[in-house]
Symmetry: C2
Subunit: 318 residues, 2 copies
């Protein structure tokens, strides 16, 4: 297991600077009043390809030597890593093929095609993804960039917290959504060096609570095809991300589907940001238990904005 270190995060920051946005950190006095905390939102929904995943994917693609890159890159992803890898491959001028579950959202599928990537569909389980991917690698010789169980990807995601630390200054708490754990591992990697006193929380849908259960059990408990509106949060921890989660994450907070939708709508209405449901779990966790964060400076990572505008959750609930 190749565990990335802080110098890898710094190298990633230099490597990807040309290809990614330094996203803004935005605040809202209305949400501060509602929660009693000072919230600082790192807006990765405004990142290239619409999500923080551009960081890790770009770092991985530009770390490859020419021989490795020649056959292109492949991956499996419910969406944003797929988009990000397709875009990174496009930037480098190499082919990209991604395995996506049948229930991946339309906006994300179309995005992959827009960046010139090929999509192969599979059943919505981790097992189906991995089998389809294996066949793909065997056929094309493409280089597999795992969405999170990859030290280059984690070092890339760490650049998000590097920037947040520079932009927002010292934080009492940082909350990041958890799926496979790449983002929160990168967050732990960066803040463990820069701000070891900052508490790191994960946030997860109660419907996809594998990281919460893993942390409390003391070992990885994989989820199996969880159903949640937060379509970016269906994956499970890996050995590499478990390394960071088990050592540095204070807790993984759980929120219901209704709480996710409410938080998402508040971000749209109050902050004027298009975020996907997965982005809203961090704010949902604060709105659910504001006393835990009262008076604190809290960093929240808005992970992405690739939502299908024809399938907004409040259309379904009205």
């Amino acid at each position: 297991m190749n565990i990335p270190g802080f110098p890898d995060a710094q190298a990633a920051a230099r490597r990807i600077a040309r290809w990614t946005h330094r996203t803004p950190v935005l605040t809202s006095s209305t949400l501060d009043r509602l929660t009693g905390a000072r919230l600082l939102f790192k807006c990765e929904n405004l990142q290239k390809a619409g999500a923080f995943k551009a960081r890790g994917a770009t770092n991985a693609v530009f770390t490859l030597d020419d021989a490795q890159a020649a056959h292109g890159v492949v991956t499996h992803s419910s969406g944003n890593h797929a988009l990000a890898l397709a875009r990174a491959a496009h930037c480098r001028g190499i082919p990209c093929t991604v395995v996506m579950p049948e229930n991946a959202n339309a906006a994300k599928r179309q995005g992959v095609a827009r960046y010139g990537g090929q999509v192969i569909s599979c059943a919505p389980t981790l097992r189906a993804r991995e089998q389809t991917l294996q066949a793909l690698v065997a056929r094309t010789g493409g280089h597999f960039v795992h969405p999170y169980d990859d030290s280059r990807v984690i070092a890339g995601q760490a650049t998000c917290a590097l920037e947040l630390h520079e932009q927002a200054g010292p934080l009492d708490t940082v909350i990041a959504p958890v799926s496979g754990g790449g983002l929160i591992s990168g967050t732990a990697l960066a803040l463990g060096e820069l701000a070891p006193a900052t508490r790191i929380y994960g946030a997860e849908p109660a419907n996809a609570d594998d990281a919460h259960r893993s942390l409390h059990a003391g070992h990885i408990i994989p989820g199996d095809a969880p159903e949640t509106i937060a379509d970016g949060l269906r994956a499970s921890l890996s050995p590499l991300t478990w390394h960071f989660v088990s050592r540095q994450v204070a807790d993984v907070l759980l929120v219901t589907e209704a709480e996710i939708i409410t938080a998402m709508r508040r971000i749209w209405e109050i902050m004027k940001l298009v975020v996907e449901p997965s982005s809203a779990v961090a704010l949902a966790a604060v709105l659910k238990a504001p006393e835990r964060f009262h008076g604190q400076r809290v960093g929240l990572i808005l992970t992405g904005g690739n939502v299908d505008l024809d399938a907004l959750p409040w259309r379904m609930t009205l």
Copy 2:
């Protein structure tokens, strides 16, 4: 007629800095590819109270001496100036009452109340607004802050272009939506001093084309209760804004309702920003005639994000 000068804009920038956001300037390589121009979006949808109007209203309210402020402030507005004035009054701790047309959108009405402002409804014509306002001033002694025919307001709106100039560097063109003309007058005020070679265009719904017709006729032609989805763009030029528009605006570009909705959806989908229809007219004008801006660095002001999420235009058209 009290025409504001560049020092008034500089003073406004100092006066409002504590109460307003320095909003980010965002770019999109996807929209650049679509248009063939380099587009720089000044994101006033992320401004306090959700629109650039916070600048002018805050400048006006904090220019008042204590005796003037004692009876509070009043205004008429289709929405965003109302919100902005209510918030500015709240910041200063004085009362605010606003006259809003019956067809003002629900999000904007609720916003005024959230900032502690009072709303009085009137018929959706400029005449009805003005009569209701007159009665209100007579009754309360409140200080009238006109949404645009006010030099303090124009000096405040000028701070938007001051920041854009600092953030984006030299621009070939700046496009701002035009309603009463406060924003474009402020833009002309700032850029006339800082970047006199930058071409300034207005953009307007064809359904509310009074500024276009005025500019081509050489005198103010008021609109009368125009119907457009761009609910922030229903007002007409005033003597003060005509001063700037007639001297410094190259042209006022017209776009259809369908073009506004398409541009709005592209901003939501590609830039992940919640913008109201009025914000989308500038991009709509570029998408309609990209050859006019080919290869240019074009600043576009996204004016506001106070949209009713239960009444999105693509719900109606699907």
